[in-house]
């Protein structure tokens, strides 16, 4: 007991006093020092003693996370990101501790304790400078690196270093450690276009940051020093060596055990060259959406990349998938066409011999809901829905017919199928077996050329071209009779716009991909307004719809006749089957399909839109109808129907149903031609004369 009393009075009591005195001194001294320190720092900054003022630090204190521009489908699903520098902003709370630990271990082990600078490291560097004159000795803390990266240049001078120190010290008084390391983790360049640890995780491992392993975290942490040198895709060995250094540092810092370090070092890293950030889905659509967004943003003085914009599009991923599957599953058709390809022009090896494309609009709005610009985006990025200029063939005919019907022609008007000459234009002679008379409707659904040209020449080319422009065909149309058969090239987008006008009973919509653009703060920069404009009267539009229904029921679309209640459409085959189209619509969608060769090589006579484009179009419609529960096409409201002989145009109980404007219901009960063709002609034969 005495021993304890002795010890207390002679050792512990004096020691406690000493400690108290020391503590008080340290406390008071620290307080005074802190005051001097803060005052000094502020004074230094205020007077820009070290060439650094508070304004310099603003770029850090006001730091806002940078992000990529993101593109979403119609349901808000991310389909693409656009960037010059790849960013994935991740707040501190979402950064895995192992990532932070690895960074701190290798870059700045005293980060959580120092005031912004590591005085011993600075002394070390100063000694090196004095001894060798070398200013390259690193002593930067994470805070200093943030300052250097966001405020200062890479210049290696003493004055810059002094500024860095002052600003770092100041930064630590303004921001918390968590805020500083959050900036560090999101802003630092880590190679391969990526900025920040999450971007690097995606870029090198195609993983979300939350999913990375210790080994991967160690590799990413190693990139901060020299991202170019340690790029694992380019220099895997150097990257591995650096990873080992990080793991060793982590072991030194007691973050991981030696056993763990070894285990992580042995783990084989699988790198994934993540290049598809730009196009996660619907690549042709994304290209088009970017192009459209750029046009919109250009007017606002913005750039699509690095703006952290949110671009909302019209894409429907389900329909896109159906469209892509439909195009991918048409191998039989491609094989058939390839067999009949006549290789007159040299062919581009970067695309298939037979290419295909499909464009789908929402009928009512004109939203582009699916776009397949080719069979294989990787092979050919040429978008055949928006970039290819192709001859539409008979897809042009509804323009001429609608103008005719608008101007008093009727579906039962009689026309002759025979050779035609308009000026110097002599289209390919019709098959002699076809030489006969026909009604306008029959000529339409069988897509017979001569009545269309005759009708067009009666109306006049100038009027037809004006009408075409009005309906939505904006590509230049040559002022020649051949254009009546669709020889003037146009884009699929134009065709879709045109058929959308018919689908909307004469109301023209503009097809669009961008519905809304928001900035990174959620402010709406652009919102698409659907502006419909009447360009064709409803009566004529309904007449054309009934004509296009007959195309499917008994015309060139006979292969999809099972869709006759649900859809209306038209085939288009250009000269020598170079282009094979089907364009049409349901109550929900407007769909256009094209097949052909990129280099304008023709196909032999076996190939036509009827046996290539129409069945593919039908396949898509079949699937979309099931998906969307599409109802039957509505019956015309402004028309009257009559049973009419399809060849001669007279009323006939055994004829087909034709539609007419109410005041133009047919009255002709008999046809002389019918009597002749049926052998019922009662005229006196010259043999009896």
């Amino acid at each position: 007991m005495k021993k304890f009393i002795f010890l207390y009075y002679f050792f512990l009591l004096p020691l406690r006093s000493v400690i108290k005195i020391t503590q008080t001194t340290v406390f008071v001294g620290g307080f005074i020092m802190s005051l001097i320190y803060c005052f000094g720092i502020n004074l230094a900054l205020k007077n820009e003693i070290f060439y650094a003022g508070p304004k310099d630090i603003e770029s850090i204190t006001n730091w806002k996370p940078q992000n990529n521009t993101q593109i979403f489908d119609g349901n808000g699903v991310l389909i693409s990101e656009q960037f010059n520098d790849y960013h994935i902003y991740t707040p501190f709370k979402d950064i895995p501790p192992k990532m932070i630990e690895a960074i701190v271990a290798i870059e700045d082990r005293k980060f959580w304790n120092h005031p912004g600078i590591d005085i011993f490291a600075i002394l070390r560097a100063s000694k090196s400078l004095i001894q060798t004159g070398d200013v390259s000795q690193g002593a930067s803390t994470i805070t200093q690196q943030v300052v250097k990266n966001l405020v200062l240049s890479n210049e290696k001078t003493i004055s810059r270093k002094l500024r860095e120190i002052v600003l770092s010290l100041y930064l630590e008084t303004v921001l918390s450690k968590e805020q500083i390391i959050e900036i560090y983790c999101n802003q630092m360049f880590l190679g391969f276009g990526s900025y920040g640890v999450a971007a690097a995780a995606k870029r090198y491992f195609d993983k979300n940051l939350s999913d990375i392993s210790y080994a991967e975290a160690a590799l990413i942490a190693g990139l901060f020093q020299l991202p170019g040198k340690y790029n694992p895709l380019k220099y895997p060995e150097a990257a591995k060596a650096r990873q080992l250094e990080v793991l060793a540092a982590m072991e030194d810092a007691k973050i991981i055990t030696n056993k763990m370090a070894k285990k992580f070092a042995e783990q084989k890293l699988t790198y994934s060259e993540y290049t598809s950030q730009t196009k996660i889905a619907a690549p042709y659509f994304v290209d088009y959406a970017v192009q459209s967004a750029n046009q919109i943003l250009g007017k606002l003085g913005l750039d699509i990349k690095d703006s952290g914009l949110k671009i909302h599009t019209s894409l429907n991923l389900e329909l896109q998938q159906i469209a892509e599957d439909t195009i991918a599953n048409a191998e039989k058709t491609y094989t058939l066409m390839e067999r009949h390809l006549i290789p007159e022009n040299e062919m581009n090896e970067n695309s298939h011999k037979v290419e295909a494309s499909m464009l789908v609009l929402e009928r009512e709005t004109g939203k582009i809901v699916a776009m397949v610009g080719g069979r294989d985006y990787e092979k050919s990025q040429f978008n055949r829905t928006t970039q290819a200029m192709r001859a539409p063939g008979s897809l042009f005919k509804p323009i001429t017919y609608s103008l005719g019907l608008k101007n008093g022609k009727d579906w039962n008007d009689l026309y002759y199928i025979s050779p035609i000459t308009i000026g110097n234009y002599r289209p390919r002679t019709e098959d002699a077996k076809l030489f006969t008379e026909t009604t306008l409707l029959s000529a339409f659904y069988k897509s017979i050329n001569s009545p269309a040209v005759t009708l067009g020449s009666e109306l006049g080319m100038e009027r037809v071209i004006q009408h075409a422009n009005k309906l939505g065909l904006t590509s230049p149309i040559k002022d020649e009779a051949a254009s009546l058969l669709g020889s003037s090239e146009t884009t699929m987008l134009d065709i879709a716009r045109l058929y959308s006008t018919f689908a909307n009973k004469g109301m023209r919509n503009e097809p669009f991909a961008i519905t809304k653009i928001e900035d990174s703060q959620g402010k709406i920069l652009f919102e698409n307004q659907i502006l419909s404009k009447r360009v064709l009267d409803q009566v004529t539009a309904e007449l054309i719809q009934e004509g296009m229904k007959q195309v499917i029921t008994r015309g060139t679309g006979y292969k999809i006749s099972h869709l006759s209640q649900k859809a209306a459409g038209k085939t288009g085959t250009s000269n020598r089957s170079k282009d094979n189209w089907f364009a049409g619509y349901t109550e929900d969608l407007v769909v256009v399909t094209w097949l052909g060769n990129d280099d304008q090589n023709p196909f032999s006579g076996v190939v036509s839109a009827a046996n290539t484009a129409a069945p593919i179009w039908g396949d898509f419609i079949n699937s979309s109808i099931k998906k969307l529960h599409t109802p039957n096409l509505k019956r015309p409201r402004s028309l009257v129907s009559a049973r009419v002989n399809r060849h001669y145009g007279n009323l006939s109980e055994s004829g087909i149903t034709m539609y007419f404007p109410p005041h133009r219901a047919p009255k002709k009960e008999k046809s002389d031609l019918e009597k002749i063709n049926l052998g019922q002609d009662l005229r006196i034969s010259l043999n009896d004369f």
């Binding site: 002759y416 002599r426 008379e437 031609l673 009597k675 002749i676 009662l682 010259l686 043999n687 009896d688």
Partner: protein
């Protein structure tokens, strides 16, 4: 006595077999015997032969006629039989076959247009001898017709013709191929008038050289042969005479190439020049020459083209002619062109072309347009018209009906019948601005 009633007996027996007109017992009269009048014996023998013939035609009558004495018939009942055979109630009888409904209907419609049906008795029969006999018996002895109008198969018409002389029955045949006899009147378009009208029109247009495109079906038609002779006589030169098949459009195309000399070998120099020019143009535009577009224009060495085919074929030829860029050609043809559907689709290409027809106006039939079915309507119409006028002018005997027909005139110097053939008026129509305009 029985001989006196013999005609009546015959009538009764005939009528008894007819379904349309059942036998009526009250028409039977008591049989009375009379002495033979020798003067009338010759006439009597004629009558006898008639009844003998009747016996041959109808086996049902054999047993009756075998019991009849020649003398009794002739002497006792000559007046009655003559009266029965010759007398009439100004009625018209019509016998036609129960086939070919459309044609029948057309004729009857035309007839209705010209005549009040109260004086017309119609028998639609199977074209068998028995049926024809029954119908004839009813018409002659019961309806007492003054004139018969008939049409149908040639066998049927020749059977009626056999009765004609015996019955003294003037008959209008809507048929061309009937043998000449004084009581047979042909109601048919008149070929001579037709040819005359055509030549008149050609001369009016100063057409001297023509091409003929003849359909295969009319290659051997007498009409075509006759027309060629008429052209020759009128000093109209036939430059091309090409035949085609109306059912084969390739042959029509070939015919066009033939008459327009679309033949690069026959026109080699011209073809080469066009070829070079087209090639120069194509090269200037940076394209290769599409040989299919090297066309020889039509070489027209004639003033007009005669197309004796229907409007459907003419329409196709018109399209082909335009295709071969044959311009300013007059086309001419026959009544088979008659249809508004000829001009509905041809714009003005056929302006100036013409055809000859035997109808002057569709309004006559309350029709808004010229229709092919008018041919037989017109025959019915004209038949009814002449029958009505003849019966109006005729006396009590059918002989007077015949005379009235023979003396009938359209105008002061134009007889209705020439050599018992109807002097059918003919007209020409010119196409102007998609309408048919009568040239006179």
């Amino acid at each position: 006595m029985i001989f006196k009633l013999l005609p009546l007996l015959w009538l009764i027996i005939s009528c008894a077999q007819m379904t349309q007109v059942p036998t009526q017992d009250k028409e039977l009269a008591p049989i009375q015997h009379k002495a033979i009048d020798p003067i009338a014996f010759k006439e009597c023998m004629v009558q006898l032969r008639f009844f003998k013939q009747l016996e041959k035609l109808s086996s049902n009558h054999i047993s009756i006629f075998h019991t009849i004495a020649e003398k009794e018939l002739c002497t006792s009942h000559l007046d009655e039989t003559q009266k029965l055979l010759s007398g009439h109630n100004k009625n018209i009888g019509i016998i036609f076959p129960n086939s070919d409904k459309e044609k029948n209907l057309a004729i009857l419609k035309g007839l209705k247009k010209s005549h009040n049906f109260s004086k017309v008795f119609v028998a639609e029969v199977k074209p068998t001898k028995n049926e024809i006999n029954k119908a004839l018996g009813n018409m002659i002895f019961k309806k007492k017709i003054g004139l018969l109008l008939t049409w149908g198969p040639e066998k049927m018409l020749s059977h009626i013709e056999k009765w004609q002389a015996g019955l003294g029955l003037p008959t209008i045949y809507i048929n061309k191929k009937i043998n000449k006899n004084p009581l047979a009147f042909k109601m048919y378009p008149n070929k001579a008038n037709y040819a005359f009208e055509m030549i008149t029109e050609l001369r009016k247009r100063n057409i001297k050289r023509i091409a003929i495109l003849t359909p295969l079906k009319y290659q051997n038609a007498q009409f075509i042969q006759d027309m060629k002779k008429v052209f020759q006589a009128a000093k109209i030169e036939v430059i091309f005479d090409v035949t085609y098949d109306s059912n084969n459009y390739d042959t029509m195309d070939f015919a066009c190439r033939e008459i327009f000399v679309i033949d690069r070998y026959k026109r080699q120099v011209e073809y080469n020049a066009i070829y070079r020019e087209e090639k120069r143009k194509a090269n200037a535009q940076g394209f290769g020459l599409n040989k299919n577009l090297v066309f020889l224009p039509a070489q027209v060495k004639f003033d007009a083209i005669f197309i004796p085919d229907n409007f459907k074929i003419v329409n196709h030829f018109a399209k082909l002619f335009q295709y071969y860029q044959a311009k300013d050609i007059t086309l001419f043809g026959t009544h088979e062109w008659r249809s508004e559907e000829l001009v509905e689709t041809n714009k003005n290409y056929l302006d100036g072309s013409f055809f000859v027809d035997f109808i002057d106006s569709p309004q006559k039939f309350n029709e808004s347009r010229l229709s092919p079915t008018l041919d037989y309507k017109l025959m019915g119409y004209f038949s009814g018209l002449v029958a009505k006028h003849a019966l109006k002018k005729a006396g009590e005997s059918r002989e007077s009906v015949t005379n009235a027909l023979l003396k009938m005139k359209f105008s002061k110097d134009k007889a209705a019948f020439r050599r018992n053939e109807f002097n059918w008026p003919t007209y020409a129509f010119e196409i102007q601005e998609n309408r048919f305009i009568p040239t006179n």
